[in-house]
Amino acid sequence: MNAPDPAATTASPPHASFAARAHVALADDGLRRKFRRAMDGLMTKRAAQFADTEAWASLRARGAAIRRRALARLPELLEQLEANCRKNGITVHWAETSAEADGIIEGILTRHGVRTIIKGKSMVSEEIHLNHFLGEHGIGAIESDLGEFVIQLAKETPSHIIMPCIHKSKEDVASLFEAKIDGQPYTEDVDVLTATARRVLREQFAAADAGLSGVNFAVAETGTLCLVENEGNGRLSTTLPPLHVAVMGIEKVVEQLEDVPPLLSLLTRSATGQTITTYVNFISGPRKTDEQDGPREVHLVLLDNGRSRIHGDLQLRETLACIRCGACMNHCPVYTRVGGHAYDAVYPGPIGKILTPQIEGLGKAGDLAHASSLCGACGEVCPVAIPIPDLLVRLRREASHAIPSSSVMGAGAQHSAVEDWIWRGWRWMYATPLFYRLATRMLRLIGNRLPASLPMLRDWTRVRAKPQFAPRSLHDLARDRGYHDE
């Protein structure tokens, strides 16, 4: 064959806990090396971009304020965006759920007799599992971003939101191309592999009846859809086919055109350490009657899928400020060790740990909120200052407490009476000086005799020596040396 199988699904691996999936990932030394190398490179490049800490702070403050303003004014901005898009000739659709968005897109394509669409990179299309849905309705969806093309050929899912095939080596890609693309000999030459993808996909672009893209920023003021990319496949998907469908989460809107430069600067520098990407598209409507190219119709699908619920909680709303740069995953020590697939989520890494449990519910994805040492690297590099560690703690609380007023889906799903009692006991011990003294004395007496096979100690001592309780506590020693005197 010459193209990816359009019906190839992006089905999830069988459900298991994050810990179980991480176990599998950790056993793969090659995977760890690939992620480590890639993340090291990305961190170095980003750091070089923001070496001037004052400039970083003021740009970040601006970006953070732009996103907070947009979220505060979200309903009116969406209406303004819709009105201005209409004025520009863009048809606007609203979808409450993934299924609705899929249905809307399938409807548009079917009305136009579309058999094949060519896609620019879109995480929202992954979120709604669009390729799978269209495949079931006899419409082929071809990924044209090189990384997405590779994983579509491999029938896998992205492992990073910016670099979807970061888990593949050039040897992997060489074997894949050899197996799946007619007349392609095995080669590890990246230039040749890239040229092959160009040749194969050029034909797909020329033949496609419609193109689909995501949206990086939608400007309410002018009804403009911004698309940020390096390859040109986004431009091709939105220019060559006669029909363009764009899909975006409702949170991607910004107030005005002048909001774009600072967000763009934060996005590209945080994501890949580039001053700017090769292409930045500002799409404001279909081909005008006197123009020679561009799609004849442009449709915009606004997807909610839980975002309006998240928006309702002022703390959790911060999640929606995200501009999808991926810097949080690039800097995450957990993501670096286990890779994107261990999250079994469209959005992996720190942003995924706060977004996925809110979209899919704490029952299904609540354990992701615990997949963090709360080291804070994600919050530190977030270009719009989302306090990711604090939101992780909030979601941990929501998962273990059935709070009646909670708006979080699946609140209390991981409630455990045993855990409640543990913390109640902990509180009793640490908030009552007398009990603290008694408990610590007892621990010092028996602690070192506890067998390493106890559940908590067993995991700890698998790779570490058992901690030794000191014969006398600091409390005792401080009293002896006169530090108690006020």
């Binding site: 957990v334 615990h370 040492s373 509180r427 640490y430 000086p433 000191a470 040396r481 530090y483």
Partner: protein, 251 residues
């Protein structure tokens, strides 16, 4: 940025629960260093834990009850010096959110403002001068995530080490990377934690250091435990102990 206060006559010392049980000598060393700077050091006997473990797991009420006990135990307006950036970060940065809407929110805020990390306090407030009396040694430093990101303590411990004539300080390749402790994280996801600490140990070994010091005993318990288990003979201890021994006890 934390404002540098005037050097006081008296400071409180918050020993942390981990030091109390496992590393009391690190706590004593911290108090001794402060005392040698001419300060009166007070260790309130009713202190226990900053509340971070419960807070990080989402058990706010329990964390708040324990935090409230600490606030009550440090009633005088003296600075509170903490030999742990992580506990200091909890008390300085998170009490406000923990006590939001509570009747004692103002009290909590006033408490938070008095919290300082030990090495930062020694450098900026005490303007400590160290005279090295130890043997030549090569040392590296592991800074905890919260000391760096919440308390802004990045250069201070290294500055102290560089002041020691006989100490060759070598930095880690990834000084800002988490060691994998993360409190309950190391128990909930032990395999990922193990992978992280293995990388940290490798970084320490590559540095060529004879000894690794840190300002946080949680990280030390993790790193030293992993080195011991792996048979890596690099000594690990709290920076306060290291400095005290070199500058004073060897005299």
């Amino acid at each position: 940025m934390i404002a540098v206060p005037e050097k006081p006559k008296t400071v409180y010392f918050f020993g942390t629960c981990l030091i109390d049980l496992f590393y009391p000598s690190a706590g004593l060393a911290g108090m001794e260093l402060l005392r040698r700077e001419g300060l009166r050091v007070v260790f309130p006997p009713n202190q226990s834990c900053c509340g971070q473990p419960a807070r990080n797991c989402g058990f706010r009420e329990e964390a708040r009850a324990v935090a409230r006990r600490q606030i009550r135990s440090f009633p005088n307006p003296w600075p509170i010096v903490v030999p742990s950036g992580s506990c200091a970060g909890m008390m300085r940065e998170h009490y406000a959110e923990l006590f939001a809407g509570e009747p004692d929110a103002d009290e909590a805020a006033a408490f938070s403002e008095r919290v300082y990390e030990l090495t930062w306090f020694l450098v900026h407030v005490c303007k400590v001068k160290l005279v090295d009396r130890g043997e030549p040694v090569t040392v590296t430093f592991h800074g905890s995530c919260h000391s760096q990101r919440e308390m802004g303590v990045r250069d201070e411990p290294k500055a102290l080490l560089r002041e020691l004539d006989q100490v060759t300080f070598v930095d880690l390749q990834r000084p800002a990377e988490c060691c994998g402790f993360g409190g309950t994280f190391s128990v909930r996801l032990p395999e990922i934690s193990a992978a992280m600490v293995a990388d940290k140990v490798a970084d320490i070994e590559t540095s060529g250091a004879d000894e690794v010091v840190s300002g946080d005993c949680g990280c030390l318990m993790n790193i030293a435990g992993a080195m011991e288990k792996a048979g890596v003979s690099i000594r690990a201890r709290h920076i306060a102990e290291f400095i005290l021994e070199r500058c004073h006890e060897r005299a």
